[in-house]
Amino acid sequence: MSGIRFEGISKSYRDAVALDRIDLDIEPAGLTVVCGPPGCGKSVLMRILIGLETPSAGRILFDGEDIAHMPAAERSIGYVPQSFALFPHMSVFDNIAYPMALQAVPRTEIAARVDQAAGILHIRPLLTKRPSQLSGGEKQRAAIARGILKNADIFILDDPLVGLDFKLRESLMEDLKDMRAELGATFLYITSDPLEALTMAEHLVVMDRGRLVEVGPVDTVYYDPSWLRTVELVGFPRCNVLPARLDATNAMCTTAIGRLSITLENGAASADAMVAIRPEHITSPASGAAPLGIGKVTLVENLGSESVVYVQLHETTLVTTVPARALASLDLGDPFPLAMRPGGPIVFDRASGRRIGRVTSVPEESRDG
C-alpha cells in the first residue's frame, strides 16, 4: 500500500507564505480528512501532491521516492475536484470510462469497474443517459465515479460535496466511505465543514494559516487535542472559548462565568490562559453536574433531534446542545440554568495556544445558581 510523506514542504507566492514547512505522513489505506478554514493552505498542499504546483522547498516521498518535481501525469494519483465538468456529448458511462480509456484499460475491465462504481454510487440506471438529463446530485455522483476510477492507489477529493443539498451530502458521505472501503485505497479528503470532517475522517489533519495544527486519529484529535486552534476548528456546534487568568497556586482560574478548579499537566508559562468548553460539557444542573448559574436564552436552533441553545451568562454567550425530547419550548430571554461537566473542558496557554491542563470542578463559591 502506498504511503505518502511530506518533508518540509513550503510554498510561497512572492511574499505570501501559503505553506510553511509541512511535515506529514499520510496513513496508507485509510481516509484522511484535511480540514481547516478557507485559505489555510489545504488545497495548495493537495495541488502540490497532484503536481499542479511545485513546492518552494521540501520533498514528497511516495513509496520512498521523491516526486516533488515529477510531472503530474506520471504520478499515480486520482483527483476529484470541487466542481466537475462532464462531457455533454458523451453518455454517463463514457464520461466515467474516459480516464480509463486514456490509460488503455481493456474494454471488459472498464465495463466491470464502471459497473462496480455505478452500483456503489446508485447511478446504474443513469449510465446510458447524457449529463443534461441528470440532476445536480446525479452529475456529482457521475463525476465522483469518474475521478475514482483512475488506476491509482491514492485519491484526492477536494471538497467534493460543497454546494450540494444537505440530504444529498448525507447520502454521498455514506457512499464515499463505502467506496473507499471497497477500493481499499488511500483517500485524502479536503473540507472546511467541521461536521463533514468528523463524519468522514479516520485520521484528521487540522491546518491553519499555512501550518499543520494537529494530526492524529479522529477521536484523539477531538477528545485529546494539544492545541487551542484544534478545538476551535474541529467540532460542531462551535466550542466555547473563554479567556481565563490562573491564580498564584495554579489550581484555580478566573473566567467571565466564574472561578474554576484546574489541574495543570506541565506547569504554566504565564497566568494568561484560555478555557475551551465544548457544547456537550455544558448541561443542566438536573444532571448532577456543577451549577454555573442561570443564564438567559438568546437563540434556540432546532435541529430536529437536538437543539442548539445559545445562553448569555454574565456577558458571555455559551453554546450548548440539548436533546429536543428533553427541552420544553423556549423563548428568547427565558431563564436557562447551566451546569458544567468537569473533566471535559481543557485549559490552554493563551500566547502559544498549547494545552496546559484540564478543568476539574466548579468550586462552591463561584456558583450562584
Binding site: 440530504k167 468528523l198 463524519t199 475522517a201 479522529v218 457544547p279 437563540l299 446542545t321 428568547l332
Partner: protein, 374 residues
Amino acid sequence: MADVRVEGLRRQFGSLMAVKDVSFVFPEGAVTCLLGPSGCGKTTLLRMIAGLERPSAGTIRFGDRDVTTLAARRRDVAMVFQYPVMYRTLNVVENIELPLANDRTLTVAERRRRVDEAIEILELGDARRLHIDRLNLAARQKVAVGRAIARRAAVTLFDEPTTNVEVHAKLALIRAFKELRRHVRQTIVYVTHDQTEAMTLADQIALMREGEIVQCAPPRELYDQPNSEFGGWFLGNPGMNFLTVQPAEGSGFAVDGVPFPLAAPLLELEDVRFGIRPEYIRIAATPLPDSVPARVLRRAVAIGGQHLVTLAVGGSRIKAKVPPAEGPSRGAPEVGSNVFVVCPIEHAILFHRGKRLAELPRRLGSSAAAGAPS
C-alpha cells in the same frame, strides 16, 4: 395584514409542472416556511404569490382581495431576496424609510417610529447614517429585512435570505428575525432549503416535494409525526431509518427476518416499512427484551459530541445516535463489535407504500394489546 389563500395554483414550464394545483392557506400573522429540496417548486410558489411569476391556473387571494392578475406593485407585498436589493446611494435609515415615504396615510412620526424600531431590534444603530456601500453582505441583508418588516405590507415574503451569508452572520440574522417577530406580527412566507432554519423560524412548515405540499405542521410535529417516508427522511440529520417489514410466523412481523413480537394488523399489506429516528435506537452489549442482533459498521463524532453509529441489522443499515459519555469508548460501541439494538415501537412509524399507516401495531402481551382485534 391578511392571510394568503391559494387555490388550484399551478405553474407549468413546458412539460414540467413546477407547482401542481396547490390549494393552501397561509394564516394571517404566522410565519409559514416553504421547505423542500431544490426543484420542489417552493420558489415558484413564492414568486406567484409575489406577482413575479404568472400562474398557469388557479387563484391567489390576500384576505378577500383576489390578486391573481394584479401586478406585483399593486399587491401590497414586501419581499427579501437572496441578495439584498438596496438603494446604493442612500444610507441605512433612508433605505428602510424609502418605501414608507410613498405611503401617504402615514404620519412622519409613525414613519420615524417604525424605522427606529427596525434599527434598534436589528442592532443597526451604529450604522444608521452609513451608506449601504460601506456595509457587508450580512448587514445589508439585515437592512433588507428591516425595510420589508417596516412596511407592514399585507404579506411579507422571504426567498432564501441567508443563503449567501456566512455561518456566523447567518446566526445573527436568524436571531434578528426572531427578535423582530416578537415585536411585529406579520403574515410571512419564508422559502428555505435549510431544515434547521425552517425548524428554528417557522410557526408552521409546509413541506414540499415535486410541486406539491405534502404536509404542513408546526416544526416539532412535522419532525415527530411525518405523514410520509419522504418527511421522515428529509427532516433530521441524519434522517429517519427505514426497515422493510415482512409478515412473521404467528403474531407480529419481522424486519429482515428478525421477529418483532407485536400484534400487527398489517400482515396482509405489502411494502410496509418500519421507520425509526436515530435518537430513539438503543444499543446494548447483551440481549434486551425486543432487541435484535446487529453489527457495528462505523462510528463518528457527531453534533454536540454525540456518536453517530452505523449498524447492520439483517440486510439493512441503520444509524443510531448515542449521547456523549465518559470513559474510553465514550459510550459508543467499537467498530466491528456485535451488539443488540432496540427500536422502541412507541417511537416507530409504519409506512405503507411511502405513506404513514394510521394504526400502529401493539405490543403482544401488553395491556394495550389485550383488547386488540386479532
